[in-house]
Each structure stands twice: as C-alpha cells, then as structure tokens.
C-alpha cells in the first residue's frame, strides 16, 4: 500500500502539501429493542480522502472508489489552486514511518455472530425480566475493525489498525405517563472481553430506570453540585475542552483575548489535561490524522491556562507547538482539531469530605449528553441525588446542568481523590458534522458552587 500511496502522491504538482488517507473498515452489529431482535448485520466501508494545500486554501477529494488515486490527487490539487489566494500556515513536523498493529485480548472478528447475539439476548432478558414496570429495553452492540493508511508529500507513512467494541444496555421504565430511561455502557479498544460479563451492569440499568419512575424531577435553581467522575469528564470535555480546540481561536482575535495563555481560569487546585497516550483510553492513538505523534498536553495547570489543542495549521498560525490533535471520524472528512482523552487531574478531597458541609445540593451522576456554544454549556446527568445536611438523600430525575464556563471553572472549589474514566462516552463526541468520534472522558468527583440546575421551579 505504501508504494501505491507514494506513487499517487508523486502526481501532485504546483502544490505546497498533499496527503492521502485510506480506510478499510468491517463492522458488525446486534441490536435488540424490547423482546425483539431489532437488527443484525454487517458492513464494509472502504474509501479515502486526499487533502491538498495551496496558499492557505484546502482542496479535498473524498471517494469510495480506490481505483484511481492519481485522479483524486489531481482533483484535490486543482481545487486547492482554485481557492488558495493567501498565505499557508502549516507547522513543520518530522516525518515518521510506522506500522501500528492492534492488540486484542479477545478478537471480536473471531467471535461468531451467533455468539454475539446470544450474549446480547442474555442482557436483554435481564432487563426485560427485572420488574413489571420495565416497558422496553434497548441493547446496542457494535464492533469495528478499521485499517488506516496515511501518507503525505513529506515522507510520512503511518499504517494503523483501530479496533473498537461498543455496548449500550438501556432500560425504559413506564408508570402511567411517566417514562424513564437508564443505561450502562461498555466496550473499549482491546477486544470482545470488554463487553462480556456485563450482566450486573444490565441489571443496574433496569434497577435505576425503575427507581427513577418514583423519583421527583429536580427543582430548578442554583445549588452546590457534586459531579461523579463520568459527569466531571463530560463537563471538562464539553464546557472547557471545546474552547481549547484552536480552530475556534486561531483566526478569531477576540477569542484569543479570552483564551490568553497565562490567564487564570480556576483555583490553583485545578489541572486539566488532554492526553492522547493514556493507556487503553478511548481517544488514544499513537499519531493523529496528520501523522503527528500524540502527547500529554496540559491545558490548565494550577488554575492557569497554559496550552491548547492544535492541528498543524492552527499551531503554525498561533506560533505554538503541535499537539497531535487533528482527528477525523472517517475518510469522508478532513481532520479537524479534536480532543483525545480529556480529564481533570486527581486532587485530594475524599467524597464524604466534599459533601459534608453542603446543606442543600445536588449530587449528579452519569451523562445522557452535553453540548456547548463556546461560553455556554448544557449537560444532562443520567440521574441525581439531593444532598441534604451533608448527606446523600433522595433520588431525583431530569438533572440538567447549565452555565457559563468561565464562571463555572472558577466555581470548582474541591477536587476529589478518585480519578475515574467513562467506559464509553455515550455516542462519542460531535463537532460540526463529524460525529461520533471516540474520546476519553474522566476525572475525580468535583464540587461546583452556585451551579444552575435546569428544571421547572
């Protein structure tokens, strides 16, 4: 393949930079909804993208047909020349040549579809049989094995195998007009065993859905909020992480003022990191999609903004070091600046200590989703508990946290001693039209003062 890519790249002329990324992916899925097998199947997806850079303008060609790479290179170059009229900013990096093989404990490609189905059926039966209030269930299993070939006009060649296993077990409870959903997710990058022995988790989803039916909606208002590691991860990713993506900043002088390195963003206990090398992390890759090695990047250190995430283009434009954060969901898209594994570094406060002086607060757990528009964020907890007089009290539902990120970061006053990772961020991260991208989310329990919890008052 290397020769094929090298040959095709040679046909580029009158252009500053070209790269090619090809992908071949095989995936299978098994979905149950309610008592029925909803869908079982498999897919194969092959395709590629050529990127050409000319005077600051990008030309892209994407394709499913791999037959004529030379033609695609020509197409991308021609497009780039059509639009490039300015100055190219593109950080130099050392070319690398590497082949990254997957390492799987139990290779899901060797597991027969019948076995995958049988296992998912077990999880489904656990949920459906849990309680008479369980109205429906949803089990979604999918796996994929992708090989990516990347080569550029500077001599970089990276071949990487990317395995992925995903499981969602969801229980839907109903009592009259009230419907409540709870889910548990699993999976990972190291094989099929990551979704085996999930029976207890499936049971937990069912139990939570049933409990939530009897739980009142949280009363909207301002609270001291404690988030569990998963929700801490979602908050870090959504509220702050996206602001660190330099493509929001690099051509926006005003944003650069807001995101000035050296500025204080939180207390000196606060450290936020994006690290594409975390072992086993869902966002872990040795190289990003421009062939740049990933690394551990401090974004906030002791409360001070010290770094941000870059592609080669944004790094050059802002005269900052590359970070290895150019990623793409698949070949139909060029890479853009994305997070890898983003987390708040572990602190020292035990959970009990954190809640003991909260008179009235909310303990928010798990995440259904999150979304940001720069300074504003909204994220939904799976469920929550009221905190009353320093103790975890009754279960509440419909817990939606919202706020202004700049204020909220300053309002984080305690950081727990119990760093944890989300086993599988629900649905992955979406940015522009690129969704879902696997990212790692994590952190310890944290306490946020004066946090707005949405809901009817």
């Amino acid at each position: 393949m290397r020769d094929r890519l090298t040959e095709a790249l040679k046909s580029a002329h009158d252009i500053e930079y070209v790269d090619i990324r090809l992908e071949d992916k095989a995936n299978t899925w098994v979905n149950f909804r309610g008592p029925d097998l909803d869908s079982i199947g498999s897919a194969r997806t092959v395709g590629g993208i050529v990127r050409a850079l000319y005077k600051g303008g990008w030309g892209y060609a994407t394709f499913n047909d791999l037959a004529d790479l030379t033609k695609r290179v020509a197409e991308a170059c021609e497009t780039a020349r059509l639009i490039g009229t300015g100055t190219t900013y593109f950080a130099p990096v050392e070319p690398v040549v590497d082949v990254v093989k997957a390492s799987l404990v139990k290779d899901f490609r060797q597991v027969p579809l019948a076995e995958k189905k049988a296992l998912m059926e077990e999880y489904n039966q656990i949920i459906l049989g849990y309680h008479k209030s369980i109205q429906a269930s949803s089990i979604r299993y999918s796996d994929s094995f992708k090989t990516i070939w990347f080569a550029n006009s500077e001599g970089t060649y990276v071949e990487e195998e990317v395995p992925d296993v995903n499981l969602l077990t969801a229980a839907i409870g109903r009592e009259g007009d009230i419907v409540q959903t709870a889910h548990e997710t699993g999976g990972g990058i190291d094989g099929f065993q990551s979704v085996e022995c999930f029976h207890d988790k499936a049971r937990l989803a069912a139990q939570k859905a049933v409990e939530l039916l009897a739980a009142p909606p949280v009363t909207g208002g301002k609270y001291s909020v404690v988030t569990d590691p998963i929700l801490t991860g979602v908050f870090t990713h959504e509220a702050f992480g996206h602001l660190s993506e330099s493509d929001f900043v690099y051509e926006n002088p005003r944003m650069q003022e807001i995101m000035t390195l050296g500025k204080r963003f939180g207390s000196e206990r606060l450290n936020i990191i994006d690290d594409g090398t975390v072992p086993g992390g869902l966002g872990t890759h040795p190289y990003d999609y421009e062939g740049v090695p990933t690394r551990k990047n401090y974004l906030i250190k002791e409360g001070i903004l010290v770094g941000r995430l870059h592609s080669r283009e944004t790094a050059a434009k802002l005269k900052e070091p590359v970070t290895g954060n150019a990623r793409a969901v698949h070949f139909q898209h060029p890479p853009i600046v994305r997070m890898t594994n983003t987390y708040i570094e572990q602190g020292t406060v035990p959970f009990d200590e954190m809640i003991k002086d909260i008179k009235l607060g909310v303990y928010a757990l798990k995440a259904i989703g999150g979304e940001t528009a720069m300074e504003m964020f909204t994220f939904s907890a799976g469920y929550g508990y009221m905190i009353r007089d320093g103790k975890v009290a009754e279960l509440v539902r419909d817990v939606v946290l919202t706020g202004n990120v700049f204020e909220t970061l300053h309002n984080i006053d305690q950081i727990g001693n119990d760093l944890g990772w989300d086993s599988n961020s629900p649905g992955g991260c979406g940015k522009y039209d690129q969704h879902p991208l696997r990212v790692g989310l994590g952190g310890p329990h944290i306490r946020i003062q004066n946090c707005v919890v949405g809901g009817q008052q």
């Binding site: 892209y60 047909d65 497009t79 839907i172 051509e251 909204t378 939904s380 919202t402 039209d433």
Partner: protein
C-alpha cells in the same frame, strides 16, 4: 446491472431480497472565519442488501461495488440469526411524479458557488465588520436505485442544494452565534434574503435585555419550533408505538394538540428537502397527516413495525424519518402576534435540545438565541436563560399561529419543514 446481480445471486438461497444502490457526487465550498477555507469534491457509492431467509431477516452494506459476493454472503449469514420477518417485500406500484431534479444545478461549478458564499459573507461584514462570518454552498447529484425479488425496480435521480451563512460576534466573554441555512432540491435560492435574515438576527441581538424568571408566553420562530416537534417526532415513530414507549401510543383520533394546529408530512412538495416518490424499502411515499386540527391522525411505520402492529407501511423508510413537515398557516400576521404580548420571549436556537427524556415531552434547554418581548416589541437578546416545560403540554397550549411561514432545513436540523411562528400560552423561564 449491479443491483440485478445482487438480487439474482441472493435469490439462489433467500426467499426474498431487496437491494438499494446509491451513487452520489458532491461539490462543496466552505467559508470560515471571513475567508474561503476549503472546497471539496466527493464521490460516494453505497449498496444495502436485505434478505429474507427461512423467514428471517439479515442485512449488510458495502461501499465497494466489487464486493457483491461479500455483501450478499454477509447478509445471508446475518439472516441465519436474524429477527423474524413480519412483512413481505412490497410489490410494484404506480409512483407519484415528483420534482426532485433541477437540471439548472448541473452546470453549477465551484467558482460560482464561491461567488454565492462571498456575496453573503460580504453582506454580513458590511453590516458589522466585527462579525467573523462564514458560509457554505453544497451541491449534490444522486442516483438511487431500488430493486427486489418481486420484480420491483425503481430509480430516481435527484439534485440537492444546500446554502448556509452566519457568523459569530464576540464581545468581552459574550459570544453570539447566528446561522441561517436552506436545503432543497433546486438551484434557485435567494442568497441575499438569507444574508439579510442572518443580519436581522444579529441586529435584534445588539442589546442585551434583562429578564426575570417566571412563566410567560413564548413565540417559537419557524426554526425554534423544532424544539416542540422533537418529542412529537419520537412519539409518532411506529417503533416507539409498537414497543409501548410512546406516550401517544393509544391516542390516535384523539385531541393531542391545540385545534389550531395541523401538521402534514408531505413527501411530494416540489423540490422539498426530503421529497421523493419511494422510500429505501421500495414503499411508495404518500401524504400523511400527523395532526389535523389538533387530532392525532397517523404514526410512521416501516415494513417491519407495520408488520408487527398490523398497520400499513407509510413510506418513511427503514429509519422511519419524517419527510417534509408542513404546518398549516394561521391568519395572524407575525407582527400582530408580537404586538399582543406584553412580556414574553421569542426563541430561535437552543443548546441541549434532545437531552434528558425527550420522548416524554419534557425539555429543559438553554437559549442559544432568544429575545425578550416587552410591550409588543423585541427589546434585545436574553442571556443565561433556560426554557423548560413539556412539549406535549405546549402543543396543547398553542394560542396563535402566524400567517408567515419559512422553510427550515439543513444539515444540523432535526426535521425539515415549512413552519410558521407559533405562540405558546405559558412556559417556564429560568434566568440566572
């Protein structure tokens, strides 16, 4: 023909086979942060195969046109463990003639698309040079072929054209986003009008208006109306109905919304964003009233869910996606609707839509773009404000519908449709 080869090959074992072949060419130009950033050419192919083997269903897809044996074999393998087929593949039927192909789009090349984007950006920059403006123009030419083992063979060529513009304005730590977009199947689009609308949303946001928490009347713009449709869309999904998860599952023929609301799913709108004569299961599309004068009329079924509940498939494909939603206009001019409100909100864009428990109807969203109404006038943009309530209750509480309607569509929209401004009597607003 590839598609016939698939039917023939799979039919050697399977009792039923259907195949779908999609081929597509896209050209796109993207402006971002005030400049032409990239342009793209895309070529796509996709084959989807569904087989019924001994009464069980298996599916497989591929993007590789040379992988016919592979895709057929994988579908057959999946069918061995597949779910029981509760349906038969459809027979050939007469199809509605639809307008989905605009030859005027064929000669449209990137330089002209660049000019269109540039014009919209220039207008926004002229209004306020501080705005970081963006624009995008996408043109797609597609061919869809459907065939099955009962002798059906449909094909359709269609064109798609998407235009969008907008920008962001940063003042201090305040960031304002505005975007306008339109997707349709014809070339004629008024780019000047689109830029003018984007500018109007910026202009109305020039002032920040303070707001107090409480219950108040809320006007949903055509784009904002999506927030109320989201729960309805999930609840009329035949699968939720079949599974018992839909709160509307036993409400057909009942009053579920205000009598002034009529909502039709119309796949035959000329050059509409989701117009087409057949779906991806070979079911002819038809006009489906969803709500007529507040009464729930139809759920949306694919072959599978229709078979399970004993209904007819409604032509919304295997994903049961609504096509072009058309809300009947009211008789009140939008300006008059506004004038009638002493204190309230106009809501346009949201953050956090679809989180929580949308099928229940409950929503609690941050206002990304919302405006305070005071004594019949828009007095400025509201900040740090949440809107909460129940979408079904809000549909019952619609107090006015405007005469004016606008198309809402585009890549980030949950639904496409032609919507008026819709006023809801009272919703809970939380200001920070």
């Amino acid at each position: 023909m590839i598609i016939e080869q698939i039917i023939e090959k799979a039919s050697q074992k399977a009792q039923g086979v259907q195949a779908l072949l999609l081929t597509q060419e896209t050209s796109a130009v993207d402006f971002d942060n005030d400049r032409l950033k990239s342009a793209q050419s895309s070529q796509r192919t996709q084959i989807e195969v569904k087989v019924i083997l001994d009464g069980k269903v298996g599916i497989s897809t591929t993007t590789d046109l040379r992988d016919i044996d592979g895709v057929v074999n994988r579908a057959l393998e999946a069918a061995e463990f597949g779910s029981p087929a509760h349906f038969e593949l459809p027979e050939a039927q007469a199809l509605e003639t639809v307008k989905i192909y605009d030859p005027a789009l064929l000669p449209l090349q990137k330089p002209e698309m660049i000019r269109m984007g540039q014009q919209m950006m220039d207008m926004i920059k002229t209004y306020n040079p501080e705005i970081l403006a963006g624009a995008a123009v996408y043109k797609t030419i597609s061919r869809v072929e459907y065939a099955n083992s009962r002798g059906v063979h449909y094909s359709a060529d269609h064109t798609d054209f998407q235009v969008s513009t907008g920008g962001q304005l940063t003042r201090g730590t305040d960031i304002l986003f505005v975007s306008q977009s339109l997707g349709q199947k014809k070339r004629s689009v008024d780019t000047e009008e689109m830029a003018t609308q984007a500018i109007e949303y910026f202009r109305m946001a020039e002032n920040i208006a303070p707001i107090q928490s409480g219950d108040m009347p809320v006007i949903f713009t055509p784009k904002g109306f999506i927030a109320l449709l989201l729960s309805l869309g999930l609840a009329v999904d035949g699968k939720s109905v079949y599974l018992g998860a839909s709160p509307l599952r036993d409400k057909l023929g009942q009053q579920i919304a205000s009598p002034n609301l009529t909502l039709i799913d119309d796949p035959f709108v000329e050059y509409g964003p989701n117009t087409g004569a057949f779906d991806n299961e070979g079911v002819p599309r038809k006009v489906n009233p969803i709500i007529e004068k507040g009464v729930l009329r139809n759920f949306v079924y694919d072959l599978d869910t229709a078979g399970r509940v004993g209904a007819k498939p409604t032509g919304h494909g295997s994903s049961r996606s609504l096509t072009n939603l058309v809300v009947q206009p009211g008789n009140l001019p939008y300006e008059a609707m506004l004038r009638n409100i002493k204190s309230g909100l106009l809501v346009h864009e949201f953050l956090g839509l679809g989180q929580g428990n949308p099928i229940n109807g409950e929503f609690s969203v941050n206002l990304l773009l919302g405006y305070k109404i005071e004594n019949g006038k828009l007095v400025g943009r509201v900040k740090n404000t949440m809107l909460a309530g129940n979408a079904f209750a809000a549909l019952r509480d619609i107090t006015a519908i405007s005469r004016e309607r606008e198309w809402v569509s585009g890549p980030y929209s949950w639904f496409s449709g032609l919507f008026p401004y819709i006023q809801v009597g009272k919703l809970s607003v939380t200001a920070k």
